[in-house]
Symmetry: C2
Subunit: 271 residues, 2 copies
């Protein structure tokens, strides 16, 4: 029995999200469908992060255990060949909305979700009045000019180990603790009308990144003071935080399994 | 009666093309639907270029004549508001796959297609083995490394006034003449795994840009000699030219109505 860890990228636009749901197209469902062909048996995978509908991934992880004959390192090539030929005949779209970037054998007790010690998300904001059809599914468009410096100041307040209940969407499952550690954040400069927000943490509450970004946008538009963030966090009150930024700007960028990789990534963001 | 010239950008992924077709979503159909609301009467437009399914536009042009009360310069803002709110409820996609970038009043005899004296197309090639779900609808992915210098040398041979019958797809309507003038071409360097081809001409045969690009890719892969291009063109034989590159890499970039604008754009590409 091999235990395999996959690295997966996908454009989430046309998925109901990562997780399988009846009668809907999910990223997990598509990966399982293709792996079942590649491994010649029904395959079920455990993904690290249940990304929502419209949310993208540069580096989702998932693991599965099975006995199969194809060499593990050939899985990406063979699977991507199937993904690339799987274009729906009803659509003019190019195929290949998912690709497996890597497959590696891991110890039998390894689990893609439970063994993850941190994740990095990226959120892209298009700050332009002029509509851009080519970025509509990949950015959050904000028409009014954002004060990026104020947003950066506000973002610095989310670093640390805190109770982030104020950034948790209603409707998520009730968690024992809403305390999380944010290791590092970075808000880039406006480039090609785009502002990129990056965040690394040990875990994230439901919609947490999108609510943080919505709050930062409120700051960038002058609706909130950047130094109100500590108060908002202390309040644990979702009503005091900002709006929930839309899913299409959000990317699961990386999942960390080792302390060193996590530390290096967090350090790299401080440069 | 006002005669109005529009500048339109669209992501062609989900359209059957520019031109209206029964029971299908077209860019023309969407623009007419929204303008009919904005102008409070049925509007029909004349587009400059009948882009194919999957082909994109940065600067399609179209004109229409009507009497309407909204100030012409407000058309883009109002129309884009409707485009942006028109997301299908069946889809998770962000709305706004079309936007009107400009609307200007022109003399009554002006016609967006018949008065165009030239066009610029851009074609994007993703030269990478690694699949990229986010560019699949916006580039032609070629896995093997391209010899961009050889392609550039080949591209230089298409400049001039020539019979380009070899670059005309079968199935296009029979034309009186297949002579066209290509004013300028440019093939950029590989950047972020992308190679950009730009071409300005007085007119283009059916699938001409895509067949030129397919021929250049054949050159880049070593299947054709860059200096075979003059022979291929002279032959007037479609079989001797290369394959037809797929639609999703192609963008109608600009339409020219004045000699000066055309000359400036062609000169700018030589820099």
């Amino acid at each position: 029995m091999k235990n395999v860890l996959l690295t997966i990228t996908y454009d989430g636009t046309d998925f109901c999200g990562w997780q399988k749901q009846p009668d809907q197209r999910s990223a997990q469902g598509e990966v399982e469908r293709v792996l079942s062909i590649v491994c010649a048996q029904p395959i079920q995978i455990n993904g690290t992060s249940r990304t929502d509908a419209g949310v993208h991934a540069y580096g989702q992880r998932a693991s599965f255990a099975a006995e199969f004959s194809i060499p593990t390192e050939k899985i990406p090539m063979v699977a991507n060949g199937i993904f690339a030929s799987a274009a729906s005949e009803k659509s003019r779209k190019a195929s290949g909305e998912i690709a497996i970037l890597a497959a590696e054998e891991v110890p039998s007790e390894f689990h893609a979700r439970f063994d993850a010690i941190g994740k990095k998300y990226i959120y892209k904001i298009l700050n332009s009045q002029r509509p851009d059809p080519f970025r509509r599914n990949y950015c959050y468009q904000v028409g009014r000019r954002l004060d990026v410096d104020a947003m950066r100041q506000a973002a610095s307040h989310v670093i640390g180990t805190k109770d982030f209940k104020c950034f948790q969407a209603a409707g998520g499952k009730v968690l024992e603790s809403t305390v999380r550690t944010i290791h590092s954040v970075r808000l880039g400069s406006l480039e090609n009308n785009e502002v990129k927000f990056e965040v690394i943490g040990d875990g994230f509450l439901y919609n947490m990144v999108r609510i943080i970004v919505g709050t930062l946008v409120d700051v960038g538009l002058g609706r909130k003071n950047p130094d109100a963030l500590p108060e908002i966090i202390k309040s644990k009150d979702r009503q005091l935080a900002g709006h929930t930024a839309p899913p299409q700007g959000l990317y699961l960028a990386e999942v960390f399994y080792g302390n060193e990789a996590l530390r290096n990534a967090a350090e790299a963001m401080k440069e």
